[in-house]
């Protein structure tokens, strides 16, 4: 998929672990891991909203378009 999730970078900048983020956004660690490893097929706006809120960023900071 040409859309990549750049969650790792933002987590690193915020010095936050995936477990901690999972607790804050109320998403299971398994689902967040799927998102982080680019295995998700889609992302809900509610999930994106919660991630942006907790990581203090814009959707564009979490997603990147990588042309083939």
């Amino acid at each position: 998929m040409p859309i990549a999730v750049t969650l790792d970078n933002r987590l690193h900048e915020k010095r936050m672990t995936l477990t901690e983020l999972a607790e804050r956004v109320d998403i299971t660690l398994a689902n967040l891991s799927i998102l982080k490893t680019n295995k998700a097929k889609a992302i809900r706006f509610s999930t994106l909203t919660a991630l942006c809120r907790e990581l203090d960023c814009q959707p564009g900071d979490l997603l990147a378009y990588l042309p083939d």
């Binding site: 998403i27 799927i34 998102l35 097929k41 889609a42 809900r44």
Partner: protein, 177 residues
């Protein structure tokens, strides 16, 4: 949703009925196969005598054998159809019916009814070739059954597509975070 569907009395009854019908088709098929064995061996002369008494030529013996083979095939198809339906109902009871294998299952059931219908037409033609009012009625019945079966076949093929789309939507949903 899966919890609500669990132990549904309608599904439990359907599974019981479909299971019983599958057994009945299998039993009938075995019995006809035994009958076919008898007709070709120990009952051969008896059948020839019956055919002669009915005014049917000796060539009718071949038609009788062919009809018996067709009936065995029909019973086998019926048993397979019921087995597929049994498993389909089982997957609904488990609360997870929208899977690609259920779409394949419904498509197979559709082709099964097509094959069964072709066999029924062949049987009706054999009955018609023997002549007589009763046989003609049987042939007409087979034509009527043919129309219902055509509708059932269409419904099965459409349902197969519905399940295919459902399975794709399910897959999408599973990958949504």
């Amino acid at each position: 949703m899966p919890q609500a569907l669990r132990r549904d009395p309608l599904l439990a009854f359907a599974q019981f009925l479909v299971g019983a019908l599958a057994g009945l088709f299998a039993f009938a098929g075995i019995m006809v196969a035994i009958g076919l064995g008898a007709v070709t061996t120990v009952q051969r002369d008896y059948v020839f005598a019956k055919l002669a008494a009915a005014g049917v030529s000796e060539a009718g013996y071949g038609a009788v054998l062919f009809a018996l083979v067709l009936i065995i095939m029909l019973m086998a198809l019926g048993a397979f159809f019921m087995r597929e339906l049994f498993r389909l109902v089982g997957s609904v009871e488990e609360g997870d019916p929208f899977r690609p294998f259920n779409a394949d299952r419904l498509r197979r059931m559709g082709w099964n009814t097509v094959a069964s219908q072709l066999i029924l037409f062949a049987l009706a033609a054999i009955a018609h070739s023997f002549g007589g009012y009763r046989q003609a009625l049987l042939a007409e019945d087979a034509m009527l059954v043919g129309f219902s079966a055509l509708l059932v076949t269409l419904i099965l093929f459409i349902l197969a597509r519905v399940f295919r789309v459902g399975a794709e939507m399910r897959s999408e949903l599973e990958g949504t975070v």
